[in-house]
Amino acid sequence: MRREGFSLSAVEVAAAPARAWPRLRVQALFRRARGDSPVKRLLIHMALWAACLVAVYPVLRVVTISLRPANKLLTTSLAIIPEDATLTNYIELLVGRAGRPTEFYLWIWNSLLITVTTATVGLLLSATAAYAFSRFRFPGRNAGLIFLLSTQMFPAAMLLLPLFIMIARLNLINSYLGIVIAYSVTAVPFSIWMLKGYYDTIPRDLEEAALIDGASRLGVLWHIIRPLSTPALAIAFLFNFMSSWNEYIVARIILNKREMYTWPLGLWTFTEQYTVLWGKFAAASILVAVPVTLLFLYSSRWLLSGLTLGGVKE
C-alpha cells in the first residue's frame, strides 16, 4: 500500500502502527480458513451498511440542499436528489451575480494564506528543537518535555484571553499576522511533540556510525537526519494545515472585517439568514469539503501515524 511520490523511509514505516496492512493480508488468509458462517457475515455487512448510512447521510443532505432551487429550499422532502435539481447555487458562488462579485475566492485565498503560513511558521520554530529533545540530555529537558505534554492537554482556549488582548494591543486585529500568532500557539508545541516522537524512532546507530567515521554533529544533522525527516515534516505540515484550515472560533474574534474572512467565517454569514442563503451555504460547503476530504482520506494513514507517534506513543 505504499504510494509513489511520498515514500516513507524504512525507519518510519517500521515505526508507524497504522500501516500494518501487508501483515493484515496474512492474517486475513488465516481468518478465512477459520471462516465465519454466511449468516454472521450477512449480519456484519448489514451492520456496517447501517453505520455507513449514518456516517454518510448528513453529508448527503448537504449535497441535496445545495442542489435545491431557491424557491424549494424549505421543504420537508427527504429525497436525496431534489425535484427541479439545479446548479444555480454553485454557479452563483463561483461566478457571482451581476453587480455582486463572488467573495468565495477571497475567503479561500485568505484561508489558504493563513493556513500555509501557520504550518510553515510551526515547522520553522519546531523542527530543530524536536531533534534536540530527542537526542540530547541537557538541563531543563525533562521540564521542557512535561511542559510540551501539558500543552497538548490544555489547548488554546485557555490562553484565548491574554492572546486576544496581546493581539489587540499590538494592533494586529484583522491582520494575517494576528491570526497566525493565535494559531501557532497550538501548532508549535504540537509539531515539536510529534516530531520528537518521530526522531525517537530513528535508530541512533545511524548517527553513531557517522560520528565514528568522523562526521560532525551538524554534518550528521544535515546529511542523515534531514533527509530522513522529510516525511515527518510533511505530516506535521499537513496536520497543522488541517487544524487551522477548519478553525472557526478563534478566527471569529480576530478577523471581523469582511475582506479578511476565512471560509468558515464566510460560510457562517450564509447561515445567518436561514431562508435566503441556505442553498449557497450548502454549495460552498461541498466545494470546500471535497478537496479537503480527499486530501484527508488520502493522507489519513500518515496523519494517524503522526498522531500516534506524538501523543499516543507507548
Binding site: 456496517l48 448528513p58 520554530l125 534536540a132 482556549a157 494575517y176 478553525e247
Partner: protein
C-alpha cells in the same frame, strides 16, 4: 467589494512573506549569536574583551526590547510606571528612531544588518573553534524557545496577572492590579454566575456529563465498528473510507449542517418523527377494534412527536451530544483498528485450543492487549472533549439559556460577550487547574505516561 483581485493578492502575499522572512531573519540572527557563544573561543585577551562586550551589549538590547514588548502588551505597564523605567525601556526605540532619522529609508535597515554581520564576522575571525557538548542542543532549541515563550509563556503569565486585576469592558485601557481584585475574581468564579445565569458548579457538572457521555460513546462506537471491520471481507476498504467521513469532512461544515437538521419544521429529525407519528396514527385508525394492538399504536402515536430541539434544554443537550458523538467515533475507530492489527493472531488460536469462547477471548485477550492504545486515546479524548466547544458553539451556541454550555464555552462567553476580563482570567486558571489535577490523577492510576517520554 468582496472579489479577489490581483492587488489584494499581491498585498496579502507580501504581508505574509514579509512576516515569514522576518521570523527567519530573527532566528538566523539569534542562531549566529548562540553559535559564537557556544562554539568559538576568542584567541587573544583583546578579542575576548571585544567579543564579550558586543555580546553583552546585544543581550542588553534584547532584554530591553523584550521589556518594552511586555510593557506594550500591558503585562508590566504598571511596574514600569511605578519604577520609572520608561526612559530605559524606550531606549531601543529612541535609538532606532534616531538611526532612522540619520540614514535614509531603505539604507537604515541594510546598514544595520551589515553592522551586526560585521560585528559577528569580527568575533568569528578572532576566535578559534571549541568543542561544546550541549551547545548544539541549545542552538537547536533556540527557535522553539523563542516561539514558546512568545506564544505560551508570556500569555500564561499575562493570564495569571489579569486574574488579579479588575479588567473589564470599561477598564480595558487602564486596569488596576491587586491581590484584593484577585480574591474577588476567584470568589466570584465559585459564587456568582460564570456567564449570565449559570453558576460554576452547574456548568462544571454538565461538562463532566458531556465528557463522560461523549468519550464512552466514542470508545464503545469505535470499538464496535473496529471489531466489525477487523476481519477479511469484501468492501472492507470502502467501509473504512466511508466510516472515516465524519472525521474527514471539515467539522465546521458538518456541525453547521447538523445544526440545521435540528430545525423544528425543516430539520431531518423532526421530519422523521412527524412521518413516524403519521404512520402510527394511520395504523391506529386501521387497527380499531383490536384491543391490545390498538392501545399500543394509540400510545405510540401520542408518544412519538416532533421535538423542540432548540427550545428545550434537555433536547438541546441531546442534540449537541449526538453531533459530537457522530464526529468523534471515526477517530476512535481508526485508533482501535490500528491496535487490533498489532495483536498477534496466535493468542486467539491458543485460546481456541484451550476452549475459550468469543466473549472470553475478547475479555481476556483483545481488551488487555488494546490497553496500550486505549489508555492514551482515552486521556486525549477526554481532554479534547472537555475543551472542545466548537460543536456546542456551532450547534446551539450554548442555548437555550446557557443550558448546553460547558466550562470552556462559558469562558468564551464571559470574555467575548460580557467582557469580564479579570474574572475570565481567574475562571480560565480554575479550569486549567481542574484539567491539571485530572491528568495527574489519571496518569498516576494508569501510569499512562510510562514510555511517553523516554
Amino acid at each position: 467589494m468582496g472579489a479577489l483581485t490581483p492587488p489584494i493578492i499581491i498585498r496579502s502575499l507580501s504581508q505574509v512573506l514579509g512576516f515569514i522572512l522576518a521570523i527567519a531573519l530573527i532566528i538566523l540572527l539569534l542562531e549566529g549569536y548562540a553559535y559564537l557563544l557556544f562554539f568559538r573561543r576568542p584567541r587573544t585577551l583583546a578579542a575576548a574583551v571585544f567579543a564579550r562586550s558586543v555580546q553583552v551589549g546585544l543581550a542588553g538590547l534584547l532584554i530591553l526590547v523584550t521589556l518594552r514588548f511586555l510593557e506594550r502588551i500591558g503585562l508590566i505597564t504598571d511596574l514600569v510606571a511605578a519604577l520609572r523605567l520608561a526612559p530605559l525601556t524606550t531606549l531601543p526605540e529612541r535609538l532606532w528612531a534616531a538611526w532612522a532619522a540619520a540614514v535614509p529609508a531603505p539604507w537604515h535597515f541594510i546598514l544595520l544588518g551589515a553592522l551586526v554581520l560585521t560585528l559577528e564576522a569580527m568575533i568569528y575571525l578572532t576566535s578559534e573553534p571549541r568543542p561544546s557538548r550541549l551547545g548544539l542542543a541549545y542552538v537547536l532549541i533556540l527557535p522553539a524557545l523563542l516561539g514558546i515563550s512568545l506564544l505560551i509563556a508570556i500569555p500564561f503569565l499575562f493570564e495569571v496577572r489579569l486574574a488579579f486585576s479588575n479588567m473589564a469592558m470599561y477598564t480595558a485601557q487602564n486596569p488596576e492590579f491587586g491581590l484584593r481584585y484577585g480574591i474577588e475574581n476567584f470568589v466570584k468564579v465559585f459564587t456568582g454566575p460564570v456567564a449570565k445565569d449559570a453558576t460554576f458548579f452547574e456548568v462544571f457538572g454538565r461538562t463532566v456529563l458531556w465528557t463522560v457521555i461523549n468519550v464512552s460513546l466514542h470508545i464503545t462506537g469505535g470499538l464496535i465498528l473496529a471489531l466489525l471491520l477487523h476481519r477479511p471481507m469484501r468492501l472492507r476498504g470502502l467501509y473504512r473510507t466511508i466510516l472515516i467521513l465524519p472525521w474527514a469532512v471539515p467539522s465546521t461544515i458538518t456541525a453547521m449542517a447538523w445544526r440545521n437538521e435540528f430545525d423544528y419544521r425543516y430539520g431531518f429529525f423532526n421530519i422523521m418523527l412527524r412521518n413516524l407519528q403519521q404512520f402510527f396514527t394511520d395504523l391506529t385508525a386501521q387497527t380499531q377494534g383490536l384491543p391490545l394492538i390498538y392501545d399500543l399504536f394509540a400510545w405510540l402515536s401520542q408518544a412519538v412527536h416532533p421535538v423542540p430541539w432548540r427550545q428545550d434544554p434537555t433536547w438541546a443537550f441531546i442534540s449537541v451530544v449526538m453531533t459530537n458523538v457522530w464526529l468523534g467515533i471515526p477517530f476512535m475507530m481508526v485508533v482501535i483498528l490500528g491496535g487490533l492489527q498489532s495483536i498477534s493472531q496466535e493468542y486467539y488460536e491458543a485460546a481456541e485450543i484451550d476452549g475459550a469462547n468469543k466473549w472470553q477471548q475478547f475479555r481476556h485477550i483483545t481488551l488487555p492487549l488494546l490497553r496500550p492504545v486505549l489508555v492514551p486515546a482515552t486521556i486525549l479524548g477526554t481532554v479534547w472533549t472537555f475543551n472542545r466547544f466548537e460543536v456546542i458553539f456551532l450547534v446551539t451556541q450554548g442555548g437555550p439559556q446557557e443550558k448546553t454550555d460547558i466550562l470552556v464555552s462559558s469562558l468564551y462567553k464571559a470574555i467575548f460577550q460580557f467582557y469580564r476580563y479579570g474574572f475570565s482570567a481567574a475562571f480560565a486558571l480554575v479550569i486549567f487547574l481542574i484539567l491539571l489535577l485530572w491528568s495527574i490523577f489519571y496518569l498516576r492510576i494508569t501510569r499512562g505516561l510510562r514510555g511517553v517520554y523516554e
